[in-house]
Subunit: 200 residues, 2 copies
């Protein structure tokens, strides 16, 4: 007899609306009222699905990184250094900049709290570092990558360095051509750094 709705679908609808608002106007500039309007419902309804703005944000951040992880996981392991480098280039897409700026916005003021959104990003970074490390290890075995690098440390280094490029572009938007040049230089540096010295 009662009215029944699809709880999960509702949460998805709200998260989609929130992502749109946050990306367009920024996280702090977005009021719960805005999210409600974007999701075509009243503010009060939001609170049936998320306990607070923080809870909503946590769910959003987690969903975002889970999706990237799933996608990246589905790629085959790179058989050569060239393929690895190709993959790194793909990790610097223009369409991730809006979300990156948003995370900057979200995480800043939240640095006091330990759980929540920050943890989700932290988890992802640990994962991607390990992911790169695995590739590096395999490529070392194949003679495609210098033997004298530490795969774990270098994997973490690559993750942080690429994120540095993304963050800077997200916050200090340069012309696309300039960003492309900077990215290319960074990738070239990493590629040369990984390449084994030619045997005389």
């Amino acid at each position: 007899m009662p009215k029944i709705v699809d709880h999960d679908a509702m949460r998805t609808r709200i998260l989609d609306a929130a992502l749109g608002c946050f990306t367009e106007q920024g996280y702090h500039a977005t009021k719960m009222t805005d999210v409600a309007r974007a999701a075509k419902m009243a503010k009060g309804s939001l609170y049936r699905y998320f306990d607070s703005k923080d809870a909503l944000t946590d769910a959003l951040v987690r969903r975002y990184f889970d999706a990237i992880r799933d996608e990246v996981s589905s790629y085959p392991a790179p058989p050569t250094l060239g393929f690895l480098v190709f993959g790194l280039r793909q990790a610097l897409p223009a369409d991730r900049l809006g979300a990156t700026r948003m995370f900057f916005d979200v995480l800043g003021p939240g640095f006091a709290e330990d759980g929540g959104a920050r943890q989700a990003v932290d988890d992802f970074l640990s994962w991607i570092s390990g992911h790169y490390a695995g590739h590096l290890r395999a490529l070392q075995a194949a003679g495609e990558v210098r033997r004298d690098i530490d795969p774990d440390r270098t994997g973490a280094a690559i993750a942080s360095m690429l994120d540095g490029l993304i963050i800077h572009q997200a916050l200090f938007a340069r012309p696309d051509s300039e960003f492309a040049g900077t990215s290319a230089a960074a990738i070239a540096l990493i590629e040369q750094g990984l390449r084994p010295l030619a045997q005389p």
Copy 2:
């Protein structure tokens, strides 16, 4: 006849107090009352020296980066690749992490505004990128760095990549030993990437 105070000294005193508060409690958790207490004055007095919390923050960020710029400018140009790399290592100090976290905190919500604090950081990044580019150009001439890299793009890439390391450590504090390992791997990658190929 009127009472006179040293306006600049007063601003410095307030900025020092604000830096302490922001670093310790975070930017958003710090209220103007807190800054006033730390500076040993009443809240109303702050507003004689800074029009708003934003204005205070802008001045603080600008002062911080100007100081780094002055310091870095005073170093002699690196005569070899080894010296350049040594300098890059110095650019990853543990004592900059608190401030970095704070800037993250400040810049996030402010991404809507264009002037102000963000501009100050932007200016600094442009400057440091150019600074590295100058070193790279000189070292290319000296045969210490590969000729086939673009100094400007690579300078910008190095600045962003190092900042990535700093930001990650600031936000997701890893044990010092781990950060040291990741940094070392990153620097090694950059060094190998810059080094000219050995002539057979």
